[in-house]
């Protein structure tokens, strides 16, 4: 027993070290963001606890950068992406799980094949299509949002997740509903959708995180600062405040708060291990 306790102490020491390494970059950023002008942020030895403690960097960066706009843009894009993914994945997953139709195999394998194609490899044609459809923010804001959402409106991953969920429902459920006089659409919306809610929740959460953090695509298509999503806005802080690390740090932390709250609220979906592999590589 004593041996076990000693072993556990070693385990705790290692895990505390790994946890510290995981959060230290953020702690150092927070520390820098709280240091006032009278404190040298390049001081050796570095001080974790600010001696000239202030929130002035936060209010300063808040006044210069429209975080609310970035946040709203991110919400619109992530919200729209999630909504479209839920609707389209469920509507594509159901026939693949339950219906018999000509070309089902072809449809199935065509969708499967898209898993192999990374977005980075097709972003150039996608960009040209988006331009030609005038779905860019230089046309108007709505077109800009649509252009940000469309390439990610549905994914093979989502379709397979929903197909698996529909496969898990006993066929008798549908038969009973049909006997009761439901048509196919009613079976789908009133009987099956409520039963696959857990899978829809998983899809929603992981799509949201993916869309919220997306950086490559918005940085390609966005031209107007008022349309920036949070990651693009944060990257832009570097240009705006060139070497004012107090402001860059404060802005980065401000932009991170919403997603950390979301993560803590939904943490069981992320760390329970049941949804392993749910986030796209």
């Amino acid at each position: 027993m004593k041996n076990l306790k000693v072993k556990n102490i070693y385990i705790h020491i290692i895990l505390i070290a790994v946890s510290l390494l995981s959060v230290f970059p953020f702690i150092w950023l927070i520390s820098t963001s709280l240091k006032g002008p009278d404190e040298n942020i390049f001081a050796y030895p570095p001080a974790i606890i600010p001696s000239d403690f202030t929130f002035a960097n936060y209010s300063g960066v808040w006044k210069k950068v429209d975080f609310i706009a970035y946040f709203v843009n991110s919400m619109i894009v992530a919200g729209g992406t999630v909504l479209l993914n839920l609707i389209l994945s469920a509507m594509a997953g159901y026939p693949l799980a339950r219906m018999e139709f000509k070309g089902k195999k072809i449809a199935f394998f065509s969708i499967l094949a898209t898993i192999m194609i990374p977005f980075q490899a097709i972003m150039l044609p996608v960009y040209l299509i988006t331009l030609k459809l005038h779905l860019v923010d230089s046309v108007n804001n709505f077109a800009g949002y649509v252009g940000l959402i469309m390439p990610f409106a549905v994914s093979a991953f989502g379709i397979f997740l929903m197909r698996q969920a529909f496969l898990g429902i006993p066929k008798e459920m549908e038969e009973a509903a049909i006997v009761d006089g439901c048509n196919v659409w009613q079976v789908f919306t009133r009987v099956l959708i409520p039963m696959v809610k857990p899978s829809l929740a998983v899809l929603a959460i992981f799509t949201f995180i993916g869309s919220w953090g997306e950086f490559l695509w918005p940085s390609i298509v966005l031209t107007k600062e008022s349309m920036y999503t949070l990651p693009v806005g944060v990257n832009n802080l570097q240009g705006m405040f060139s070497s004012n690390w107090r402001f860059i740090a404060a802005g980065s932390i401000l932009a991170t708060i919403p997603i950390v709250i979301f993560f803590l609220a939904m943490q069981r979906y992320f760390i329970s291990g049941e949804n392993e592999g749910a986030v796209k590589g």
Partner: protein, 253 residues
Amino acid sequence: MDYSNNIYHPVFAGLENYVKLFRSPVFYKVLWNTFLYLFVAVPVLAVFPLFVAILINQKIRGVTLYKILIYLPVIVSIVVAAIAFKWLYAERGILNYIVTSLGLKPVGWLTSPEWALYSVIIVTIWKGIGYYMIIYLAALMSVPKELYEACDIDGANFLTKHLTVTIPHIMPTIALVTIISAISAMKVFAEIYVMTKGGPLNSSKTIVYYIYERAFENLDLGYASAMAVVLLVIVMIFSLINIFCFERNKYQV
């Protein structure tokens, strides 16, 4: 296609872009960097998160807190993570403080061609640990407890227990993590864009960043597309291995 005159009216260029690509020393440099990225990041991401997962899987207190803290980098925007590391890597930053207090010369983490790529790789690794740890934790749950009990009776120590029971049992997951992390290493972009822009002297430029640069800064969409096809082929090979070896059952018609 040759887009150099007008983005809306490209001219057919045959294989010209591919010829240009395969004659360009920068392209080989970029390809080499990308594979270097892969060779450094993938082994670490296949092994270290497994080690952490095994430790977390012991019956100890505070597991949820550890998991939350280690998973945090996964959830935070890569842009913020890259900025946080850029600050650690600053010329008079905290890492150089540690280096100089050990009596060594300060390192140009992001400014010297020898170090820049590795400094960026560290960010990718740091951000991936929590994600792969959770995948491993799910796999560890499936290892039958009886096997560990048998080990305890035989008096096996911590190391032999995991070498003889855990690792053989979750070999498929280790292979899966290797493939997923290899695919995502092929696709790195944001870290490089935020931290080094591929420099200095192309030393930290990888394929997706180079595609972006050629397409949207040099407006050479044809050349960039030829490169995108190379990327596509490489990632497809990895994906095919993945699908045929590990995920076959998931995708039965």
